[in-house]
Symmetry: C2
Subunit: 355 residues, 2 copies
Amino acid sequence: MKKHNFSAGPSILPKSVIEQSSKSIEELDSIGLSLIEISHRSKEFISIMNEAQSLVLKLLKLDSKIYKVLFLQGGASMQFLMSAINLLDKRAGFINTGSWSQKAINEARLFGEVIEIASSKDKNYNYIPKNFKITKKIDYLHLTTNNTIFGTQFKTFPKFDFPLIADMSSDIFSRNIDYSKFDLFYAGAQKNMGPAGTTLVVIKDDILGKVNRKIPSMLDYKIHIDKESMFNTPPVFAVYTSLLTLRWIESNGGIVGIEKQNNKKAEMIYNEIDRNNAFEGFTKEEDRSIMNATFNLKDGLNEEKFNKLCEENGISGLKGHRSVGGYRASIYNALPFESIEVLIDVMKKFEKISL
Amino acid sequence: MKKHNFSAGPSILPKSVIEQSSKSIEELDSIGLSLIEISHRSKEFISIMNEAQSLVLKLLKLDSKIYKVLFLQGGASMQFLMSAINLLDKRAGFINTGSWSQKAINEARLFGEVIEIASSKDKNYNYIPKNFKITKKIDYLHLTTNNTIFGTQFKTFPKFDFPLIADMSSDIFSRNIDYSKFDLFYAGAQKNMGPAGTTLVVIKDDILGKVNRKIPSMLDYKIHIDKESMFNTPPVFAVYTSLLTLRWIESNGGIVGIEKQNNKKAEMIYNEIDRNNAFEGFTKEEDRSIMNATFNLKDGLNEEKFNKLCEENGISGLKGHRSVGGYRASIYNALPFESIEVLIDVMKKFEKISL
């Protein structure tokens, strides 16, 4: 039985992507070689890399004269470091919406002054801070568009007169926002784009060259841009499988089409959380993520009974992160409506037998 | 037609590994989920990571109380940086056997004094420097055990009273040397271990903690060791496929068994290079790599004619690196004898029609 995969990441990918990815390991496009046995300098892989880069910009409606696309390694964690070492000259501002923002702050502190512009720590990060003021000159503002752990999501982004940097690991390609408001954004592939092993970086190169420190080659955005994301051997499999997912997004109506589906799926699950007397949502309503729905059992109800029901119905990956507890339904692009329906059904059943 | 794959990396993997790797993308071990859709914190992946780490030490005959095994990202290029930032306090020594050594030297210079103990640059790196003297105190000596581009290989390693660090990207798991002579060694997976996307690091943790600088989290060996190679999401697919290759090595007689095969394959190809009047070897005989055999056409012979013959016989990836020219047969662990025979046959045919 194929599971209903609510995992927060690595997470569910489209069925057609899984199939073609698997096939490419046996043989890539009838070339007589496996995808993972070809040189990254082969014409086949160069074409894969080029198409992936172009398709990212096309889907996000960004201009290739202004934005560069890289497929790097090391996850968002490496980008916490790279963004700071490349861009932090004197002072940077951060909005702290929990764990991932905090990690980005910690790395940035190695390279300059860090101001926490706003934080939602006072309520265990269950909301997105708003109406914050920036009074000091900063080199850039960094934020996490969607917090995977707490299930919060920025809904709007102001335009600033300094660079805006975002970690979009868990909601890139999920919604139709104005990506041109950002000067640099990055995302680990393993949620909405592909398997673990590559990190998408989209960057305006005119923000570079403003710090004086010597940057090691592997951490230098400029080197990766100049080498067209092939400074050293890229993670071939992860880039190819990401390309397959990008093609799938395009053939499903692009980001506009995907967003419609995502909004509908999120509405279904949040409606049930609010209606069901056995559960309560964790996140402040207006800041709820359309990617990660966090919720808890009401006091005194039997957790093991709900877990067992989930297991019996093939529901996988629903356990909440240890800093929130309870449950988290990650409902990424590729999650089918059917899985949402099964989960809602299980929640209803649990309510009936528990209350 | 399946090609004869002489690619220098990413390169050929065992047929059984390719098959199981492909299958795992469809579904991992009948768990109802694809390998690339499971959490890296799932019991399935933790077991994969643990087995891969243990098997590395078992195959290399190293003690798990002394050596730690990491599967990181970023390739050897990231290790040029990580080894230096973690270990270079005042001064480090390097043996320069070409391109990869040079890149390691360049990164290390950002963190301290670098002494080039010996170099084979005077002869375009076609030999391994010997009888070098180390007169100044150094924090460590760094060398490249096998140079993929020039086809040279260290045959013996002295024991020093300071740490020995090696880039083993292109010959790890290919021969039965005393790995306990090294304090740190690393290898991009994409030659003898797996697909591109992960880098094996084997390290004695008692060499750490001797520099004063602050090390960013993602570059800090100690953090990766403490988190058992799961500080952040590891490259799940590349680690799993590497494990499959490690199992294949074990079932083929371990490194001793593999080395016998490799020596035989290398002997066959070098015998033909020496016998054939249309070709000449690039590397000094005693330093020839058993992994990458570099050779050139003799003056005046028709390169395109040889390339055409290769293509007609399904030979792929034989083109030499631009800094050497000519040809390079990369004959990694998984390359079957049949491919060597086909190449030798084509070389003989070319000799007959050319001379």
